[in-house]
């Protein structure tokens, strides 16, 4: 057992951290949010060309740095620290992850573009009726034609490809008969309604009307196990993002509590505030522990149980730390002016991302706690 990062991983973290500190300050970020596109293409270009981080988790054969899930964890935590808008999660972790598992010609063809920053992937999996269930699908692929609707597809507006789940057979919630497709985002028959999310990113409702899908677009025919796997990987990564978000929420609140004076002393001198900050600290530490556990178990038989345990714990931490960060800040915490409110918003969205606390506890029970 070993909990240390390699030198390369530490360098990777430091590099991204420095870049974000220099160029991705809160005001700059908010300016991008106000422009309403949901991302800054220049930052993406820098990730690819200046920092080279988009290849960190890909094999050297594909032009990457030979890393994997731990590299994603390191990078996602740093992105959480700066509440980064750009689509690392959907493009590299999810899209790239799917391609790594599928391998072969399509991986060879697409991954280099991801690393270069020119290929961006959006994950079109969840559906309006399907809540957090990856198997609850009404989008169909029949006779080579894709039809249906996908809900709240993050970053679809600036994606070059869509990673789509679709039913090729079976009933609406069957485990079998689900295919995973990678199709060009501008294929005929695809329409979108774009909007911003609470976080400031862009998302879309994506509609498929008789979109022609060839065999070369089908990454896997019976794909639910693979889909579960890449969503477990994405869940671990979003837990890492949450750790970054929560560390900043805690640090900013601790700072504020030391400075803000009420009744003639710093509010951090009040024992109730002190213990609240301690409870927040403990939630953050445990979120970090669970994220490491989930990440390190991604290639073991405990993968799904660990991912759901981690997400359940991190989801609770996100709520507790976020709400109390705002509470301790008082009124100023719920204005647009201070960063803390925006970290709180991100923490709140993460609570439900890839499933709520209850969803993941139920999933864990289904795996590990049969009566």
């Amino acid at each position: 057992m070993d909990f240390n990062f390699t030198e390369e991983q530490t360098m990777l973290r430091d590099m991204l951290s420095r870049y974000l500190a220099d160029t991705y300050d809160f005001d700059t970020r908010q300016k991008v949010v106000r422009e309403g596109k949901g991302w800054n293409p220049a930052v993406w270009k820098a990730f690819a060309e200046e920092l080279g981080i988009l290849g960190a988790s890909f094999s050297e054969a594909h032009g990457g740095l030979g890393g994997g899930a731990i590299e994603n964890m390191v990078l996602m935590e740093e992105m959480g620290r700066a509440i980064v808008l750009e689509p690392y999660l959907s493009t590299v972790v999810i899209g790239g992850g799917a391609l790594k598992h599928v391998g072969g010609a399509v991986a060879d063809a697409v991954i280099p573009g991801i690393i270069a920053g020119t290929t961006r992937i959006a994950f079109a999996a969840y559906e309006p009726q399907g809540r957090f269930y990856l198997n609850d699908l009404t989008t169909t692929l029949k006779g080579g034609m894709l039809n249906g609707q996908k809900a709240v597809v993050e970053s679809a507006a600036h994606a070059t490809h869509l990673l789509v789940t679709a039913r090729t057979g079976g009933a609406q919630r069957d485990a079998g008969g689900i295919a995973l497709l990678l199709i060009p985002a501008d294929a005929p028959g695809i329409t979108r309604r774009d909007y911003l999310t609470v976080h400031g990113t862009s998302a879309s409702e994506v509609y498929f009307e008789n979109v022609a899908v060839g065999a070369e677009h089908v990454l896997r025919a019976d794909a639910l196990p693979l889909i579960e796997q890449i969503v477990d990987e994405a869940t671990a990564a979003v837990c890492a993002e949450a750790c970054g978000v929560l560390k900043v929420l805690h640090a900013q609140t601790l700072d504020y509590a030391k400075q803000r004076k009420q009744f003639g002393k710093a509010i951090g001198d009040f024992q109730v505030i002190q213990h609240r900050l301690v409870d927040m600290f403990m939630e953050v530490e445990q979120a970090v522990s669970m994220t490491m556990m989930a990440t390190l178990k991604l290639d073991t038989p405990e993968r799904s149980a660990a991912a759901s345990m981690a997400k359940a714990k991190v989801g609770k931490a996100a709520k507790f730390v976020g709400q109390n960060a705002v509470q301790i800040h008082g009124g100023i915490g719920i204005t647009q002016e201070l960063a803390v409110g925006h970290y709180f918003k991100r923490a709140t969205l993460i609570e439900n991302l890839f499933g709520s606390v209850d969803f993941h506890l139920s999933r864990y029970e289904g795996i590990a706690l049969a009566a």
Partner: protein
């Protein structure tokens, strides 16, 4: 000890129901159902109907325009308006400055201000908090210096800054806590002033909150001249009015009737939301959260009823009302958490910021439309009106003697 309504009360309830059915502005229902934000004229539309009927201020003494209802009738009234999902009336005139004026004001102040509060002609705002004084209200620094004007009359010259001033952008008048004796200790030396918001020197600047709302404002006062006759109660004794008003504010803040209505709304949403082949309301854990909310809400309701019974038997709203504030706001916040959770994936979209006021299209179910902004916005309830931590300090000191 008895929970039954008397025959008179039952008849009264029927009267109230009929009145609401026949006179509540129907267009407001549509606005609420579609999740639209209420604007000034919406609040006033219902206000004016009630004023015409004489029902605008049930809690006020009859001599000032109250209804003379019993505590039970007032309870029925708040139950029925919530049941019918009526828009909430703005509290700043009716529940806050109104009672201060009829309790502490001069006959002239009563005559001038109370009728205009009742009619809705004056829209009020509250100038209490300052950037440096959040929970520590008494540390406020806005100064009011007294001087004799060229007309020989007495005036205050007010300078300072207020913040979190709700709906100040619409306000005709504001009630302000100002420091009239800077040498006095914290809570002494404060006076309670009524200020015409059109007075030169007042600047109102919006504060945009996390959900994108413009509800609260900064109010800057620069050499604002206020006649001395607009001071309520004695000079340097404004803290008496402030304390009176805070206890009043805490009672109303429990919001039992509105929360009951919102529980029903969540249940309806959960009934209509799919969750893995069944309704979300059939999910044992979501259902359990609703059940726990209903239990806690019943506990709050019966605690409020016991408090009201105590009040009608002579005791004013005491420090126990801090309990109602804490538990009431916790429930209000949990309701918004449940709404956000019910929305699932569709909690993420944010329509407000697509372009100012662009509500022209939405995705997902109507019920999910504004759940995230409302969730963010309602975090304020455990902060304002004396944060819930301050309310616990109050109970510790005033009730438990700690």
């Amino acid at each position: 000890m008895d929970l039954n309504f008397s025959a008179e009360d039952v008849a009264f309830r029927e009267e109230v129901r009929a009145f609401i059915r026949d006179h509540y502005p129907a267009y407001l229902h549509d606005k609420i159902d579609e999740g639209e934000e209420m604007e000034k004229q919406d609040f006033l539309a219902w206000h004016k109907v009630l004023h015409a009927k004489g029902w605008i201020a049930p809690a006020w003494p009859v001599e000032y325009g109250g209804t003379g209802w019993t505590a039970t009738q007032r309870y029925i009234w708040s139950e029925e308006t919530a049941r019918a999902d009526c828009v909430r009336l703005m509290p700043f005139g009716l529940s806050m400055v109104g009672p201060v004026i009829y309790t502490f004001g001069t006959p002239e102040q009563k005559a001038k201000f109370l009728p205009r509060i009742l009619s809705g002609e004056d829209w009020w705002c509250q100038g209490y908090s300052e950037p440096g004084s959040g929970s520590d209200l008494a540390s406020l620094r806005t100064r009011a210096e007294r001087f004799t004007g060229e007309d020989g009359k007495e005036y205050y010259r007010v300078n300072g800054q207020k913040t979190w001033t709700t709906m100040a952008q619409h306000a005709d008048w504001g009630f302000f806590l100002v420091r009239t004796d800077p040498a006095a200790k914290m809570q002494e030396g404060i006076s309670f002033l009524l200020i015409d918001m059109k007075t030169p020197g007042i600047t109102v600047r919006p504060i945009i909150t996390l959900g994108g709302e413009h509800e609260v404002n900064e109010v800057w006062l620069e050499d604002v001249i206020v006649p001395v006759e607009n001071r309520v109660f004695h000079e340097n004794k404004g803290w008496t009015c402030a304390k009176f008003l805070l206890a009043h504010e805490r009672t109303g803040i429990a919001g039992v009737a509105a929360s009951k209505r919102n529980v029903e709304r969540i249940k309806q949403v959960a009934r209509n939301t799919a969750d893995g082949g069944d309704a979300l309301l059939a999910n044992p854990f979501f259902k359990r959260k609703i059940a726990e909310l209903e239990v806690d809400l019943a506990a709050l309701e019966y605690t409020e009823l016991r408090t009201l019974a105590g009040e009608s038997s002579g005791k004013g709203p005491g420090p126990e009302s801090s309990l109602l504030k804490i538990k009431g706001t916790e429930i209000q916040q949990r309701l918004t958490e449940l709404a956000l959770e019910a929305a699932g994936t569709y909690g993420a979209p944010y329509f407000r910021s697509m372009g100012e006021g662009d509500n022209s299209f939405a995705v997902g179910p109507d019920s999910a439309r504004r759940v995230a902004p409302v969730y963010f916005n309602m975090r304020k309830t455990s902060i304002y009106g004396g944060s819930n931590e301050i309310q616990r300090n109050i109970i510790a000191k005033m009730v438990l003697g700690l």
